[in-house]
């Protein structure tokens, strides 16, 4: 039986507190799980979301409180994730995307945020206006696995291999 997937959408809004990072990535992972992704695909999405939300909290809002918005949409077998903040914005997006680039090297950061998002997701788009905020959109296709017909059904069959 093939999975019949209809379009779906969820929107999260939360304060820019760093303990909400775990909430954001776990919520997105739970929402995406209806597409029956592999563990690897889920890990990729969780890490990418964590990076984007961390950016919004640490760089977008710095020490101020603000609202981070996460919109997650499912269309057929594609996941669309939009993470936006109304923080200070990014001066030079191309430079920020460079691996190892960080504006705060003293704080034990790796500067790998955008690189991780880019490599773990299929598509990454960053829009930013100084003083107004940043919007990161990402897309990833979840590979649909055909259900295996000859899966062992009973415990005996499974044990026999």
């Amino acid at each position: 039986m093939k999975n019949k997937i209809t379009d779906n959408e969820v929107k999260l809004e939360f304060l820019s507190k760093s303990n909400n990072e775990a909430f954001a990535r776990i919520s997105v992972a739970a929402f995406v799980s209806q597409l029956d992704p592999t563990i690897e695909e889920i890990s990729d999405i969780k890490t990418a979301v964590s990076e984007a939300v961390t950016n919004a909290i640490v760089h977008g809002y710095e020490d101020k409180m603000g609202i981070v918005t996460v919109i997650c949409k499912i269309h057929e077998n594609e996941v669309y994730i939009e993470i936006s903040d109304s923080g200070k914005g990014i001066e030079n997006v191309e430079m920020a995307k460079q691996p190892l680039f960080t504006t705060r090297p003293n704080l034990e950061r790796s500067g790998m945020g955008f690189t991780i998002m880019e490599s773990f997701m299929d598509e990454l788009n960053v829009q930013s206006i100084l003083g107004l905020g940043t919007k990161v959109t990402m897309k990833k296709k979840i590979k649909q696995t055909e259900e295996v017909e000859d899966m062992p059904v009973t415990l005996e069959e499974a044990l026999r291999g």
Partner: protein
């Protein structure tokens, strides 16, 4: 995080058993720095076996800790990943 110090080998082992992100990395770093100061180990091991999630904040911590270990080579501190 569980800390174990083996006096005989001057080996300090941090067993990290939580998700590592920007939020939790602060505590891990603070505790690790404190324990390293306290025991002055020759070798430090970070055990990531029970870590279920890690993002770039974790990578940053590991890179900085390795750099700190390299700089401290004259007191024979070594970081093993």
């Amino acid at each position: 995080m569980i800390t174990n110090f083996y006096e005989k080998d001057k080996l300090l082992v941090f067993k990290i058993n939580e998700e590592i992100d920007e939020c939790s990395v602060k505590n891990i770093r603070r505790k690790a720095d404190y324990e390293i100061e306290r025991f002055m180990p020759r070798e430090v091991v970070f055990d990531f076996d029970s870590v279920t999630f890690m993002d770039s904040a974790g990578i940053g911590m590991v890179i900085r800790k390795v750099q700190a270990g390299t700089n401290a080579s004259e007191v024979k501190q070594k970081l093993q990943i």
